[in-house]
């Protein structure tokens, strides 16, 4: 009885993109929510331009899927923070999604053809 949760409402494609961005961010090393939010915001103002809070359900979901793991640590500001790191399964997932994404982009580009005014 999978009922659509409210976080799904922005569409599967967007959610998949957010997942990829998160995985990509923590691929470089463990990071906490605040850092991840800012990194993603910095690299893409499309996805996370509204509220940083909507990042957390995504983090939670990825953790449930065992793509990332979490631990409580101390941040650079000397505050308690929950850190996320990527799991082997997460790395594999990212790789797979990335190549799927690229082939999708390629396909779409082909269909659209060269940009003409």
């Amino acid at each position: 009885m999978a009922r659509k949760t409210r976080s799904d409402s922005r569409g599967d494609m967007l959610q998949g993109t957010l997942d990829m961005l998160i995985l990509k961010t923590v691929l470089l090393g463990p990071a906490h929510g605040h850092t991840i939010a800012h990194v993603i915001e910095g690299s893409s103002d499309e996805v996370l331009q509204v509220e940083h809070g909507s990042l957390y359900p995504a983090l939670h979901r990825l953790e449930n899927q065992n793509l990332i793991a979490s631990f409580w640590g101390t941040s650079e500001n000397n505050r308690k923070a929950k850190y996320y790191r990527i799991t082997p399964a997460g790395k594999k997932h990212l790789l797979r999604e990335r190549s799927r994404w690229e082939s999708l982009v390629q396909a779409v580009t082909q269909v659209l053809g060269p940009a003409t005014e």
Binding site: G53, H60, N77
Partner: protein
Amino acid sequence: MRWRRFWQRKLRDEDLSREVDSYLAHELDDNLARGMSPEDARYAALRKFGNPTYVREVVFEMNSLNSLDAAWQDVKYGLRQLRLKPAFALATILSLALGIGANTAVFTLVDQILLRLLPVHNPRELAQLQVEGGRFGSNDGDNGHTFSYPTYLALRDRNTVFAGLTGQRIVEASLVGKDRSEMISIGMVAGNYFKVLGVEAYLGRLLASEDNKTRNSNPVAVLQYDFWRNRFSGAPDILGSTIRLNGAPFTIIGVSAPGFEGTDVGLPAQVWVPVMMKPTLFPNWDELDDERSSWFYLFGRLKPGVTLEQAQAAMRVLYRQRQQEELNGQFFQKFPNARPAFLRQNFTLIPAARGQSALRLRFERPLIVLQWLVGIVLVIACVNVANLLLARGAAREREVAIRGALGASRSKLIRQLFIESLILASAGGVAGLFVGNWLTRGLVYFLPYDPANVTLSTTPDLRVLVFTAAVTLLTALFFGLAPALQGARVPPGVTLKEEAGSIASGHGQVRLRKIFVTIQVGLSCLLLVGAGLFARTLDNLRHVNLGFNVQNVVMFGVKPATVYTDGHKLQMYRSLIENLATVSGVKAVGASRMRLLTGGEWDSGITIPGVEPQAGDQHVWSYFNAITPGYFQALDIPIQAGRDLSWRDWGGSRRLCLVNQVLVHDYLGANPVGRRMAQGEKRDPDTEIIGVVGNTRYEDVRGSIPRQTFVALDSKIHYLEGVTVYARVQGDPQQIMPLLRAQVRHVDANLVVSDMRTLNEQVNMRLSNERMLSFLSIAFALLATVLAVVGLHGVLAFVVVHRTREIGIRVALGAGQSGVIRLVLGEMLLAILLGIAGGVTAALLCGRFVETQLFGMKAADPLILLMSVGVVSVASAAAALIPAWRASRIDPIDALRYE
């Protein structure tokens, strides 16, 4: 995974809110570093994050099992609703507890007697050997399942279809203890018994083939687990110690694995010994080498891949070979004309996964009838609860309408109503387990066996629990679904506008409830017919003339705990009877070899010079009993010609007997006294008939009275294992029983007394099936009728309330009282008539199924059908009259002012 998250969701929520705090703190730090004022920095951080509560909600829901959560809320809501109406809850739970309990109780017995597989390795591979037809020799045990020991050995060694062929025989023997002697049941088994069944030892070792090689040389015994626990307190050092069985010492070599009680269902073995020890246990019942003596029960385990049919075909060939060998024996040399009948025996293999059971043969049909009866009772209980739920649904229309108006979907409303039914059913199921346990004990009481010897468990085990749970669920589905669908159908707009008592609402309800009434009336009519049939059967049986006076007779078994010589027995039995006659309150006393009305009998061919077999008979024959002087007085059997036996004849050289009137009529004609006869065919007629006695029943109450010959007990003293004493007493039999016991002990402390009861009780035991069916069917029929009446009354009362205004208008317009009554009764007339018609039809259809349980009547008994219809009609009329009368008293002014 999902479940773990579900249980941890509170924890995870706390974790998340700390995480949110951490984010806000970091953002605040950044904002402050950018030079914002603390206040601005805080607001900016909150803005950046968004709504924390919303985020938490999303994550919380992610960790939820939504349907379960909602169901739990429904359960809580349902419980609250039921608490508000305790009377309603109680009534439904009680109805269900009775219905489910009755089913649980009957299933407990059905499961143990009819369904359960033996707790052995691969029970489905087991087959029992069966042979129907004359034995042409002695047969001791269930007719059709016994074999002689030499035949067993031949079949065991020559067959190619069984992985192992084994045999067993349950017998009673005395266990002499320090303080008391008691009768226990002993399994005399072939050496491969445990190996073939695949039963393991719990302690020590079990019997093996080496223990059963030569006769009387291996006095070893294996204890049954429960017997070891109860009788020997589970002493681990029991191995190697000695017990005395029928006076002979046996060394205990092991204890069997728990759960295994032998292959006789309901007649568990307590000790197993090698069958080759039989002559030690029963010096006068050796017969190990006698191929004309059948007493051993055979089981085989089919080889892998061999089907029952294949095995049967192969075994039939083998058995035919064996018969040919037996035809060369002494008996058939002497009586060559018995050969064709002997060869007509029919050999079969029957599946034995559930073991063998005399109990099953006898109770299969009654138990199945009972299971149907209680099934019907459960349906009636369900219908009743459904009816109550509907009535409640009517009262809750507004509540449901409001919930609907507030946005509850139809499926949610149905779920809510159904979950309430589920709660009721569960409560009913749990209560039903208790009721069932209590009823099971009652049922076992009806079984004609000494509870000490029959281990039918009355406590529910896992199988019974699963059964009850399944029944409960089905029940909830059955009674809950229709009312839930009906209840959730309420259109909020209409209902909320309406007021109670208006004409329009409740139409669907009334129709559904009328259907329920039809079902209830029909089923109670069916049960009443059943009750009538069984009650009259019992009554007919009770009025059968037994030929003896069953009042004020105490009977009991007496048996020496050790082996006596013939001379000693002769002296002991005489002194026993003469001494018992001196007990105060005893008017007459005698003893016999065979016990009356147990289903067991002793018959034999006889020789009377000049008498030929009757048409349809193979030979001249009679039932036999061996008796002491005093037997006929004790049972009040009249001596109609000649004289009784007397102690003067006891131990003398003359062989004397009495015969009953049927035998005189069939074989002797006029002047029977003084003629001579003999037991056995073509013998020298060495026995003198000294008297003729009145006709009496022998092994059963049913059937025709058999020819009977009463020989003097002393002439059979050599074969005598024990006797049944009958004492006619004056005063309360219960008070005289201890005196009789004491006197037996006084005569000889070595005598074991068993099964002491009144003759009346013995008759009741023989009629146990009929008593059980008649008692329970009456109880269930009454219950069903009461429930039907309650349901009928409920519907009519509902109708009257809903039509108050209409009736008021009618009265105001001049309708008379009788007209109003007719109007109300007319509502239900069709439902009742349909119910009765259905019930009678069902009764006629089911009749054939119970015909074998009836006595002295047909299943389609017009009087009983008529009476049942009468009872249902009167009860229905009574149920309808109160609401009708109330309707006729409606004051039009009140009715119209009602709103």
